[in-house]
Amino acid sequence: MIVSGWGRYPKIDSNVSRPHTRKEISKLLAIGQTIARGSGRAYGDSAINPINTMEMRWFDQFAGFDPAAGVLTVNAGVQLREITKVFVPRGWWLPVTPGTSFATVGGSIASDVHGKNHHLVGTFGEHVKEIEIMLGNGEIVTASASQYADLFYSTCGGMGLTGVILSAKIQLAPVKSGLVKQKTIKASNLEELFELFEENADVPYSVAWVDCLAPERELGRSVLLLGDHAKKGGVQIDSRQRFKIPIDAPGFLLNRWSIKAFNSLYYSKAKQGDEKLVGLFDYFYPLDKIDNWNRMYGHSGFIQYQFVIPKQNGADNMRKLLGRIAYLGEGSFLAVIKLFGGENDNLLSFPFSGYTLALDFKVSQKTIDLLNVLDELVIDMGGRIYLTKDARMTSNTFRRTYPRWETFESVRQKYGAIGKFSSAQSVRLGLL
């Protein structure tokens, strides 16, 4: 069957198996190599093994909850939206969430996902207390910061390459309301935006949308969205999907003019200093309301490119990168900038202290050429690219930007993961 990530590029023919029990997983491991896959929300080819891809969708049950400490035990296939729907009404929520609620717990650990609050609380993996992992030989071990620590720090952010994540214990965060106080601040250039990020560093959630096709003198005009959980308003939540894109949009729908018009409109519609209460799903997962929004980019799919660059010369460097994107006339509906907090101990984790930019590009030769140019610039600036969104980075780029990759490989060697767990991405990146 043809499998792809959320970006629908690349498309790879793979046998997909969906085990129902742990025994079935160990049987699959005995046959040959595989990679575990959650909801398929990684954008590129990180959850696809061309021989056998193992979907964890039937491992989607809650396994335990300590209501005093807020520690939840869940199987790897549970989607974050299920945790939200069941536990927000009880006053607990995810300490970290990515931009989609469809991501699974296993996928969130393997990607060591970050959210709009990274500058204060770090990544998802930093709130995981324990992970139950099935190793390549079928043995099940429980890894944490105190036991099998090397395996733990390799599995958080390890893209599924150390073993199969079966379940995890997660420390939830207390929440008083299903509403979020959102404040909108406009910035007319990057310096202004970066200052605003620093000024508001104590606000829990912050992310900025940036107009990547603005004319040169207005490059970096952006809208900063700050958020914090409301103290009241009830804990009911509305997670309904309201729209559906049932078929691929024609490829010509998104072009530089339509995107330019959208971005200009978005910028001019944002109201300076606007404050309002919005639902939790509206604030954190706006795109989840549209079923299959990835079809917007047409049949050939899209690449989401996300990099992080250090704070030093951040505005200059970001301007250089945005300028290059604008110069080539490529752009996307969603270009978002965020200030990251510090790096953690997970060997292949993406975030470090600096600024991150994420944008979508429709797949074309022009896009690929542009991204190759951007890669070089990002490397020179001391940055790196997010593996969960990557579909085309070279092994050279990977090794230069993830310096702990050799330690990662030695841990995989130690736990018998080499030759058992691999993805189209890991092969491309030169991981054995």
């Binding site: 069957m1 129902h20 029990t21 049950q61 809650f62 396994a63 335990g64 199987n75």
Partner: protein
Amino acid sequence: MSKILIIGATSTIAEHCARIWATQGHEFFLVGRNPERLDCIVSDLSLRGATKVGKLVIDLCDFNSHQAMLDAAERGLGGLDTVLIAHGTLSDQKACEQSVALTLREIETNGLSVIALLTLVANRLEAQRKGTIAVISSVAGDRGRSSNYVYGSAKAMVTAYTSGLRQRLQKSGVSVVTLKPGFIDTRMTEGFSKGFLWVKPADAAAIITRSIDGGFSEEIYVPYFWFFIMLCIKLIPENLFKRIKL
């Protein structure tokens, strides 16, 4: 608070129905064949809000175990309000065509075991003069098609049986709900490529629980638009039907 017995509790549709009911704080007794999955579902439902979850591992094709299973469920729950029968297998039609044994086994799993259970359950609920029996049949039972008529004929048996049972139990105040799912993205339909008619198990479960909780004693297509699709399929004259591939 209802006392709900689910037979075939590890089926995807049944599991999602149970999740919806669990948040309403009902009590469950789950019957299934796979102990590991049954245990997973028991803890999951308890965490979602079920006030009590009992379980029993049995093979439903062992008809002699049914009476004892129902006793255990009734004892465990202290009565029975709703019985959902959801177990089944999707037959390999091509393999069945070459094997009498396989064909009969599929009919046994999807048809006879359900009838055996219904016979016992109906008498219990008729005696207490209240309750709901819900059975997962299938749109496949509406008309035999070359691509899956073994499965279809077993489901046709279930649909016809429940139709008669519904008439019989009408005067005792017991509801009989025959559910006819179309294409639902479950464990049973893993091999299919999924097009636009497919729905998620959670959405199917929402329709099913609404039908059961609403007290309907009827045949319900899941989702509803399958009523029209199957109406068209049933209206095709046999002389034409035999020539088309479905």
